[in-house]
């Protein structure tokens, strides 16, 4: 295995573009090194991107939008004084992953690139409308988070391409987000179902909404029907019922030891309602 520590994303991309065999990028390593050590994936080329300038930076821009470096960890997100106040759902989703030790290394960009449909941070980022910069041989392009995963363990990134930044939009006024997952214990487990909701209100009425489901399909889903069920409503019982029905209808889950198809489908609706209530309360400035 060749180990490289490039000083720029262009150099990292060039190394990957010209590598043969299996290439992996190393940030926190909480998936890459587990797969290496379990002999699930043994890279021929390992490209450590942590020596690139700015990869540990959390930047809030003048317009209120955010850029997170690709090596920013869950612990660094949780400790940031302002990120979690504006995007509590995104920070809480990331914080659900693994132990204290894992939080010290794991990154949301790694969580995305690992391609797990049950990745906790991904539905929260999709609901938030987050995007990533992809650097490749042809230069940079910006891609919505929901367009990165294409199936379990698979992404839309081509050879020589890597994510070089994570962008979260400005929260803006009267907005709130939330992420909830079901696991059969209190923590340290993989989501059986995960739901991210981000919305904006004008008074009591929801004017914008994005709802994303995890662990109920081969990829994390952005569900337009759920958003439509919320927009224009005051999150009354009719809206909540329509939201739950739309969430359950969008599910295409598998049966496995952690949850049956029926269970996941039902729970997706329940969690969508609960997450929407939290996001709504946050958007209205109530504590939740």
């Amino acid at each position: 295995m060749q180990y490289h520590r490039p000083a720029s994303f262009a150099e990292a991309s060039d190394l990957a573009a010209h590598a043969t065999g299996i290439t992996r990028f190393l940030a926190g390593g909480t998936d890459v090194l587990v797969q290496l050590r379990s002999e699930i994936v043994t890279p021929d080329t390992l490209i450590d991107i942590k020596a690139i300038d700015g990869v540990r930076d959390i930047t809030r821009h003048a317009d209120g939008s955010w850029t997170l470096g690709v090596a920013v960890t869950g612990a660094e997100m949780s400790e940031h004084p302002q990120l979690g106040r504006e995007w509590p759902g995104v920070v809480e989703a990331m914080d659900l992953i693994g132990s204290t030790q894992i939080q010290g290394r794991a990154t949301p960009v790694g969580n995305l690139c690992n391609g797990s449909p049950a990745a906790d941070s991904v539905p929260a980022m999709v609901a938030a409308g987050a995007s990533v910069t992809v650097t490749g041989p042809a230069g940079d392009r910006v891609v919505a988070v929901e367009d990165i995963p294409t199936g379990p363990g698979k992404t839309s990134l081509a050879q020589g391409e890597l994510i070089s930044a994570l962008h979260i939009p400005a929260r803006g006024a009267n907005g709130g987000d939330a992420y909830l997952r079901f696991i059969p214990r209190t923590e340290m487990d993989i989501a059986v179902v995960g739901v991210g909701v981000s919305l904006r209100v004008d008074g009591d009425t929801i004017t914008e909404a994005r709802v994303s489901l995890g662990a109920v399909a081969p990829t994390v889903l952005l569900v337009e029907e759920c958003a439509r069920a919320l927009i224009g409503t005051t999150l009354d019982d009719t809206a909540l019922a329509a939201l739950a029905a739309a969430a359950s209808a969008a599910c295409k889950p598998i049966d496995d030891k952690r949850g049956t198809i029926e269970f996941r489908t039902e729970v997706a609706g329940v969690l969508a309602k609960r997450a929407a209530k939290i996001a709504y309360a946050r958007a209205k400035g109530e504590t939740a």
Partner: protein, 159 residues
């Protein structure tokens, strides 16, 4: 395969080693530096027996490559006592009998020290969540938690 030359700081001492890119920091600590306090339990970041701090951040050393340690500051269980004087956490673990077989203990101590540096007055719940990545199959955790909270109380009184 070319070996990588790594210069890093472990418990305040500058150390050097040669490692293969696939070797973990845990392998390098144990096999090259003879610091065998950190244990390999699972090797996949689940059990916490290999806990160390890397630039003051608690990590599983089985999920860090040896080459990644270049230029970093690493603290291990071997750096916890000051000569013959045990760290208060070590003393309290003995007092409370917070260990049996001892395999998880170095990792638990390193993790608990990181907790008390960040939060000198943790609630029982905070301590349990912080240490949830350190598995112990002997004690049932109660004695560990009591020892950590008792240490925190003693350190607060002393400061």
């Amino acid at each position: 395969m070319t070996k990588h030359h790594v210069t890093t700081t472990v418990n305040g001492d500058t150390v050097e080693y040669l490692c293969d890119a696939r070797e973990t920091l845990l392998d390098c600590l144990r096999d090259k530096l003879n610091l065998t306090g950190a244990k390999e339990g699972c090797g996949t970041g689940d059990c916490g027996a290999c806990s160390v701090t890397l630039d003051r951040r608690l990590v599983c050393s089985c999920l860090v490559l040896g080459v990644e340690a270049e230029g970093k500051q690493i603290e291990t269980i071997e750096g916890m006592a000051r000569g013959e004087t045990l760290h208060p956490l070590q003393r309290k673990f003995i007092e409370h009998a917070a260990l049996q077989c001892g395999v998880c203990t170095p990792g638990v101590l390193v993790a608990a020290k990181a907790l008390l540096e960040k939060n000198p007055d943790p609630t029982e719940e905070e301590a349990r969540y912080w240490l949830a990545g350190n598995l112990c199959r002997c004690t049932g955790y109660d004695k560990i938690i009591r020892a950590v909270l008792d240490t925190a109380a003693e350190l607060r009184e002393a400061s």
